[in-house]
């Protein structure tokens, strides 16, 4: 009976819109704040500014709660809101949003040993492989793996083609697979 996180988000969205449910709003915050903050931090160097941008998007969600039901995919919508606010902020600083300088961090880099099912050695080899990806590839990889976003949503969020995403993700996975095979060969 466990619900997938996307179903949970849709359920929280409905409850906020229909009942002004503060508890559902809190649960939504717990699910999405950190992914959105990390996404904002890819473009905005200041940690505080990135947090403020995401907090502002959450405030906007509450202030527009009665219209929330009109949004098809709340998570995708909030990522777009965060991106737009980042662009605005950068424009104010006479900068543009660049995917090629984005310092992307993967959450799983901070996994504690008991959260890892694959062993410490293997984990660090995998992360070495990921570190060698371009910032753009890394961001795509993070959005697909950690945020479970669809190719078409990543494509519209980052203004790149689905084909590019397919190719870059496959390359990333292939490199991870090589790292895994290297470890298993050296052990056997």
């Amino acid at each position: 009976m466990l619900m997938a996180s996307n179903d949970m988000i849709a359920e929280y969205q409905r409850r906020i819109a229909v009942y002004e449910d503060e508890e559902a709003y809190k649960q939504l915050f717990f699910l999405l704040f950190e992914p959105l903050r990390q996404f904002a931090h890819s473009f905005i160097k200041s940690k505080e500014s990135a947090e403020d941008i995401v907090s502002d998007v959450f405030i906007e969600i509450w202030s527009k709660r009665s219209e929330l039901n009109q949004i098809d995919d709340l998570k995708a919508y909030m990522f777009v809101c965060v991106r737009n606010r980042c662009i605005k902020k950068l424009k104010y600083q006479k900068q543009t949003l660049s995917l090629d300088e984005a310092p992307v961090e993967l959450s799983s880099q901070y996994a504690t040993p008991d959260e890892l099912t694959i062993g410490h050695d293997l984990n660090s080899r995998i992360h070495e492989a990921i570190e060698q990806l371009s910032p753009r590839s890394k961001l795509i990889f993070k959005l697909a793996k950690e945020e479970k976003m669809k190719y078409k949503d990543i494509a519209s969020l980052l203004s790149i083609s689905v084909k590019t995403i397919d190719a870059q993700l496959s390359t990333a996975v292939k490199r991870i697979a090589s790292a895994i095979r290297f470890v298993s060969r050296s052990k056997s």
Partner: protein, 369 residues
């Protein structure tokens, strides 16, 4: 195996993990892996890595949320403090944030408080089952005949309480457990929380859910206890058959025959061949979006192919009257219909069109003859 073949495997495996693969692509990947079993374990390891995503630290999130609430407050959005949301038996009024059906919330709250004293003095409910201790359910909300209400529980779950019903819950509700006791009829919209299942106890059944919308009808003295599902899935245990669990899906209802109800003894012919427990479909009126079972939450009194006796017990609660049948033949006459703003007089006049009967309303007693 050449390089382009390996590339194809990783493209397909990536699409599979991202949920982007089509069925033919999944088949293609499978046949590649049959040809190259040596890659099997690597693909599995990659998939395992893909699934591993650590949760953000709970304490960090709590602190971040408090900061966010502070920023919201500065913009004029002030959430209730956690202290104010603690349920307590002494501050019943504060638990009822919104009353839908009363003329004003204050009047309705007064009626509710008044109703509680009537219920406790004059309408004692049957003793609860052994696994429940009365002391565990300290907070109580109830409705008298002719009124309905909406309750927001401390966990954010919403309960619509139909007329002549009662909901009890513990002051620890939401902190460690989510358990309520229902007498009468309630429509539940349970806030999702996989860690704390929501449990509802009635005289005849126990219902366990995670997050869903459903209706429970369990009036003392009625022939059946009904659990009707609108969204999600619930699990029901019938007290008489503790080893069986019934899992219900949307648009289904579980109908349980109540033991020794007064309806049984008065009308043995009505219940003669009915099974003790049955799963049925919800009924919908032509052109209606809302099921008959939950139409009361929209201020509608609906019935589909029900006997006059069954309808009269609904009308008794709806209009706060009692019924007397002078002619037994009229008790079994069947009706289908729906009332919204009609008065009792108008409703009975409308019913007269489909079945020949006379009625008289005097001092809150309706006589059918």
């Amino acid at each position: 195996m050449d390089a382009s073949n390996t590339d194809r495997i990783w493209t397909l495996a990536t699409r599979k993990m991202s949920g982007e693969a089509t069925l033919p692509e999944l088949d293609e990947l499978e046949s590649y892996l049959k040809l190259h079993p040596e890659l099997q374990s690597t693909v599995q390891a990659v998939e395992e890595f893909w699934r591993t995503n650590p949760e953000p630290d709970r304490e960090y999130m709590e602190a971040t949320y408090l900061l966010h609430l502070q920023r919201m407050k500065n913009r004029g959005f002030d959430f209730n403090s956690p202290e104010a949301q603690q349920p307590s038996a002494t501050s019943l009024g504060s638990r009822i944030r919104e009353i839908l059906f009363g003329p004003t919330s204050i009047v309705a709250a007064l009626i509710l408080v008044f109703a509680i004293s009537i219920l406790t003095n004059q309408r004692p409910v049957k003793p609860v089952s052994a696994n429940l201790q009365e002391a565990a359910f300290k907070s109580e909300v109830s409705t008298k005949y002719g009124s309905r209400t909406r309750i927001v529980l401390p966990d954010g779950s919403i309960v619509f309480l139909n007329a002549g019903s009662k909901l009890n819950y513990d002051k620890n509700f939401g902190n460690t457990i989510r358990e309520v006791k229902l007498t009468g009829e309630g429509f539940f919209d349970v806030a999702p929380n996989p860690d704390k299942p929501f449990k509802i106890y009635t005289d005849a059944v126990e219902i366990k859910v995670i997050g869903t919308q459903f209706n429970v009808k369990s009036y003392p003295g009625e022939k059946t206890t009904e659990t009707s599902i609108i969204r999600g899935t619930v699990q029901v245990t019938v007290k008489e058959r503790p080893n069986e669990k019934y899992v219900l899906k949307p648009n289904e209802k579980l109908v349980v025959m109540n033991n020794g109800s007064s309806a049984d003894s008065t009308h043995p012919t009505l219940t003669h061949h009915e099974p003790m427990v049955s799963i049925r479909k919800l009924s919908y009126m032509q052109g209606e979006q809302t099921a008959v079972e939950t139409s009361w939450t929209q201020n509608k009194l609906s019935f589909q192919d029900e006997t006059f006796v069954e309808i009269s017990s609904k009308m008794q609660r709806w209009y706060d009257v009692t019924f007397e049948f002078r002619n037994p033949r009229q008790e079994t006459a069947r009706f289908t219909g729906s009332f919204k703003d009609e008065s009792l007089q108008q409703a009975l006049e409308a019913m007269k069109y489909t079945s020949a009967f006379h009625f008289e309303i005097r001092n809150k007693v309706v006589t059918i003859y």
